[in-house]
């Protein structure tokens, strides 16, 4: 159910001592925060840890949030810095990801679907797999732009970059993603033959 309060109203309630309002705010953003974290970690457990960390950090600094930007943009900047710190700590080798494991992690549960649904789901699995093969920065830009519906300026705010830099990064990320999708599909066709 969609909450009738805006993000700003919910934040005011939280700052006024109504902690339960934070649960509503979290429910609204948790799916995307988790998806974004998953793009960095490629692992559900780690992504969940990062997402939890982000919401706690956001709560602690909620008083510093200025309504000049969207709450989501502010929150995504926390996700970005937390995920980057996490990656640095874990020293993940981002280039050698087990794509099969990633595929198992990201695909949704498919059951009782018709042929069109299955085709759509498979396409999504390929795209997800391709995004997983991108660098965390590229994956984050793609995810923020397409799934987070953030403008170039907002992505710039979240990642601490100029909008023009984001524009160039987005173009490059798209190009790389296209190549990855083509490679995966080419590989799949080869395997089928």
């Amino acid at each position: 159910m969609q909450n009738k309060y805006s993000d700003t109203e919910l934040i005011k309630k939280v700052l006024g001592g109504e902690k339960a309002a934070y649960a509503d705010l979290m429910k609204r953003h948790q799916r995307f925060v988790f998806t974004l974290a998953l793009r960095f970690t490629k692992n559900r457990e780690d992504a969940e840890e990062i997402a939890q960390d982000c919401f706690i950090k956001a709560y602690r600094s909620l008083n510093t949030f200025r309504s000049t930007s969207k709450f989501s943009t502010w929150l995504y900047s926390i996700v970005y810095t937390t995920a980057m710190t996490f990656l640095r700590k874990k020293r993940l080798d981002i280039q050698s990801i087990d794509t099969e494991a990633g595929l198992l992690n990201i695909q949704n549960h498919v059951s009782d679907l018709n042929a069109d649904d299955v085709e759509h789901k498979s396409k999504m699995v390929f795209v997800n797999r391709a995004i997983d093969q991108l660098s965390p920065d590229d994956a984050a830009v793609i995810t923020l732009f397409y799934q987070g519906e953030q403008s170039l300026e907002e992505i710039g705010q979240a990642l601490g970059m100029e909008a023009n830099t984001v524009k160039v990064k987005l173009h490059r990320a798209r190009h790389r993603l296209k190549e990855k999708i083509e490679n995966i599909l080419h590989h799949e066709v080869k395997e089928l033959l």
Binding site: V14, L15, G17, K19, Y22, A23, M26, K27, Q30, R31, F32, F34, T35, L38, R44, A47, E48, A51, Q52, F55, I56, Y59, R60, S61, L62, N63, T64, I106, N108, H120, K123, M124, V127, N128, I131, I142, Y146, Q147, L152, K167, L170, H171, R172, R174, H175, L177, K178
Partner: protein, 163 residues
Amino acid sequence: MNLIEQRIWDYLDGTGTLQERELTEGLIKSDPVYQQVYDECKSFNKMVSALGQDEPSMGFTRNVMEKINLEPVPATLKSLIDKRIIFGIAAFFLFTITALLGVLFYQIDWSQTTGFKTPEFTMPAIDTAKYLNSTYINIFIFVDIIIALYLFDGFLRNRLRSK
């Protein structure tokens, strides 16, 4: 990335000037190469936009809220800044400036009539040795150490809590 693709992306994203967008629009309609790249980019956009969002585990909200409930309510910046402190600082500066001006005007020789003469101003001599003896310095250092330890303790607590 070639120029055509870049132009098409700028057109689809709505970036660039109006003139550039109109130019690209015209090229898409007239040039089959532009048309092909446009179709490719559009289907790419459609495919990536259709990606769903992943769902965290069922207990996610509950787990976070359990931790949130242990946290104090974040104080708003307004309540953090006590107005009395601001008024105190303002009063201090006002008093200092007024005192300085008072001493200055008191020392001016108003009987001078011939032209402009810079007033002679001499600051009252302050016997620093009277105030800066070893006892006061020791008290000052002691208070500083107490404040430093208090802040360090707060810092360590925050670090421990964030782990």
